[in-house]
């Protein structure tokens, strides 16, 4: 039996201070029972000899100082897992939400996980074909990578994330795969879009969903990505599956973190976010990867909305410093009706180099994408110039680049939501566009590939 304390002395925001405690440990799980017999859970944030500071996950509405009974459970937050977890929907704190009962756990895992030993990591090298040219051709995703989508409010990041989870496959292989989906603070409609999409494609049987909606306690969001990644680790490294994890929307997660930090009266860092935001995000993102001699993998696709489309806002900024690249959506392309509105130039995949080339995609892929980047970038520059000087001031070559960049956006980047292009198709479209440019301009491509693929 656990000791029950009736010594709550202060409640402020999501925090509760309990006095005269003994034998309490840092990060321990806590249950608080109050007048209506309702039980809320929390964890210990700071403990000294006679006092514990507890963060309540479900919020402190209705809690009172007099009747609250506090129990310390002697363990940190855990998640019960078993292979039956596939196909289930949970809430942000890990309770079933789909009407079915709780799962019979084979084992309980600490949701905070442990850092993977860098020596045990295997470098991700398997190319994932997403069927989207702007990703496969320019910023290829590999298994075990963490590649966020930087979006803005009103942009179709949900549709893009759903399309990737629908189409992602490793070429020429049929393996056990699963999708773990964590929703933090998104609306019912958005969540429903994903759930329906998974249902319609039958993917739901291979998926685990953790859903914390916008109107549900913000504090619970702190656990949601950790629950999702603990599930992913179990599926990947114990059951040997290839797991794609979608975390949407990390901005709301960070805001919850800020909320707790402010309640704890910590010294704020940039824009009021706590100074440890980088470390905290890293403990989430770095759980992606591959482990040597284990068949599974975790590929992580966090989605975040940049406030005011500002890439230097602390959330996208710190995310970009941890993740292996980013896919950035552009409002301008979206306005032009281009789907997916991927802004290719600032997007990046850091792990692409070992995932492409001979035996993976095609031998010319690396040179090809470097050249496309260079040409598109030049084309965009020319476009800016045209705005100032008018088209008459352009040289013939400039005009070619201008034309190239326009057709590149319309024919290469643009595709439909249900169109799945193979990487070969993507490369062929790109080469067709490159062939508009004189051969001697294509300096980033080795002569032998030019010889083979350049067609006038």
């Amino acid at each position: 039996m656990f000791k029950e304390y009736l010594t709550v002395s202060q409640i402020s925001g999501p925090l509760v201070i309990v006095e005269k405690v003994s034998d309490v440990k840092y990060n321990e799980l806590v249950e608080i029972q109050f007048s209506s017999d309702e039980i809320r859970r929390g964890r210990v944030l700071d403990v000294s000899v006679e006092r514990a500071l507890v963060q309540v996950f479900e919020g402190t509405i209705g809690l009172d100082v007099a009747s609250a009974k506090v129990r310390f459970l002697g363990r940190s937050q855990q998640l019960g897992v078993s292979p039956e977890i596939l196909g289930r929907v949970f809430d942000g704190a890990g309770r079933p939400r789909d009407g079915a009962g709780g799962i019979i756990a084979q084992k309980f895992l600490d949701i905070n996980g442990q850092p993977i030993n860098p020596s045990s990591r295997d470098y991700p090298t398997d190319f994932i074909q997403t069927g989207i040219s702007a990703i496969d051709g320019m910023n290829p995703l590999v298994r075990g990578q963490k590649l966020p989508i930087f979006s803005g409010s009103g942009l179709p990041h949900s549709r893009l994330a759903a399309q990737i989870s629908r189409q992602a496959q490793v070429l020429g292989q049929k393996e056990k795969f699963a999708v773990v989906f964590a929703a933090m603070g998104i609306t019912f409609e958005e969540a429903n879009f994903f759930i329906n999409d998974f249902r319609n494609t039958g993917a739901i049987e291979r998926a685990v969903l953790f859903v914390n909606l916008a109107n549900e306690p913000a504090i619970e969001r702190i656990s949601t990505p950790r629950l999702a990644l603990t599930t992913a680790e179990y599926l990947a490294f114990e059951l040997g599956m290839h797991v794609l994890v979608i975390l949407i929307d990390m901005t709301f997660y960070c805001e919850s973190l800020r909320q707790i930090s402010a309640a704890k009266k910590e010294i704020p860092g940039r824009r009021g976010y706590p100074g440890y935001l980088y470390t905290d995000l890293a403990t989430i993102y770095e759980r992606a990867g591959r482990i040597k001699e284990k068949p599974g993998s975790i590929t992580l696709l966090p989605v975040l909305t940049m406030p005011e489309d500002d890439k230097t806002h602390p959330i996208p900024d710190l995310t970009g410093y941890i993740t292996e690249g980013q896919i950035i959506l552009s409002r301008q392309l979206h306005r032009q009706g281009i789907y997916p509105p991927i802004d290719v130039l600032p997007s990046l995949s850091r792990l692409k180099d070992k995932g492409i080339g001979r035996n993976k995609t095609r031998e010319d892929h690396a040179d090809f994408l470097n050249q496309l980047f260079a040409c598109y970038s030049r084309g965009k520059e020319v476009k800016e110039l045209t705005v100032i000087l008018g088209e008459a001031a352009l040289t013939d070559l400039d005009r070619l680049y201008l034309k190239f960049s326009e057709s590149y956006e319309r024919e290469f980047v643009s595709q439909t939501e249900f169109q799945e292009r193979s990487v070969k198709e993507t490369l062929n479209i790109g080469w067709r566009l490159l062939s508009q440019i004189p051969k001697e301009e294509l300096k980033r491509i080795r002569p032998e590939y030019l010889e083979k693929y350049y067609r006038v």
Binding site: D110, I116, Y123, Y278, R350, N370, R444
Partner: protein
Amino acid sequence: MKKAEVIRVSGPLVVASGCRGARMFDVVYVSEQRLIGEIVELKRDLAFIQVYEETSGIGPGEPVYLSGEPLSVELGPGIISSVYDGIQRPLEVIRQQKGDYIKRGIQIPSLDRKRLWHFKASVAVGQKVVEGDILGEVEETSLIKHKILVPPGLGGEITEIKEGDFRIEDTVAVLKDDDKGKTFEIKMCQRWPVRKPRPVKEKLPVSEMLVTGQRVIDTLFPVAKGGTACIPGPFGSGKTVCQHQFAKWSDAEVVVYIACGERGNEVADLLLSFPQLKDPASGKPLMERTVIIANTSNMPVAAREASIYTGITIAEYFRDMGYSVAVMADSTSRWAEALREMSGRLEEMPGEEGYPAYLATRLAEFYERAGKAVCLGSDNRQAALTIMGAVSPPGGDLSDPVVQNTLRVAKVFWGLDDKLANARHFPAINWLNSYSLYHENIKEYLEKQVSPEFIELRVEAMRLLGEESQLLEIARLVGLESLSESDRLILEVSRSIREDFLHQNAFHEIDTYTSLRKQYRMLKLILDFYKKAKRDLEENKPLNEILASPLRTKIAQAKYSPEDNV
């Protein structure tokens, strides 16, 4: 070991009572799990401890063991080719013994206690030695002869010297110090506190160049052996690739790579690729001269703070042997953030952007550990320690306190540029705002090693690039057509400098490394073309015809032609 008691736990900060007599920065072990920590503040008998491991499950009442010793590293044969975490625990051994995840309270010695090393003595009984003298050596790898030195502070007459196969804890020599009337047993390994710089006899001005094989750096913004450089840039601008390139191709004899708060997969890349890469000078695997300190971003934040010091101390140890050592720290911003996080938990008054007020001092102390020096020891051997630190300013904003404080102490600035990176111009070092203060120091070296003309070529190239940016500005206003032909020639030539010379593909098997000699020839080719074209232009040849010259294709292909063809 003295015992104290935990009275408070808040994340990585633990407060213990009953610590009278403990000293600042002493190492302590928290709870029966023996989590390693360091004392960062003392108040009466209370000690504030920063714990290097996750503190979940620790509570008041648990014991704290005081070691009475500052945080130290173990120095001896077996360091080279190792991968350590921030407090010098061997990650490969942890993997073999404890599995794929780093659990808490792991205590494994940094160096292999059982391995036998062949020690070859270079002194004889009766010889007088002073601190820093070489007693003998061990062939640690085929590239590194590990010299066993008289530790700082010791000296005297050799009364015993051994030769043969020994473990690192075996005594290999005995010294008798007549002045102190003591004898000292010298072992192959020694300990050194990481926060204290290892002493040298004298610091010297730098004079040699650290060749990195990267054209934009070696030609335009070189760093000297013993110098300091920093490479700030927003994410995605290629800091880490640059640092990896330095680690691979720098002509230092020992490389210490500190991955401080960075990505796990990047460390995996280093670990998997280094054993396969060959050192261009010796043809031996690069791992045989490399030490990696990996404290990735998800590993405990306090150990991240220590990792920088662990790395630099190991580097100093090899410098003391007389080697030219290069340290890559990626990234010092993560280290500064760890400092900020601990400072916040200690409730210290924050300075700029929440960083502690002592950030500038700590940074300067770190960079000052670089330098060319006369090592301790009677043979007056010289050695150099170069530091190249990456900085990751938020949003790429160079007014960030870590960047600004670094610029005050680092002599070379390689500014990475978002725009260049987006156009996939790598290395994305902006040639207009970067600088090196070592041009004068290494002038003689370049004249001797390459050609006196090399310096002129550099000045000319920089002039053209500067002129290009002005001309482009004008062209933006009035249109390219209205520029004179000679101006348009300048634009074409500078474009060629940018695309055919400065742009370098780190993943191309030949382009990844360019020797100084080849750099010189490549630049000369471009500027010779410019000279000739200028003459042709004066003779009223049309510009289009000049630009169609076959020489230009040769220029464009030069970077892909193998070193032997130069």
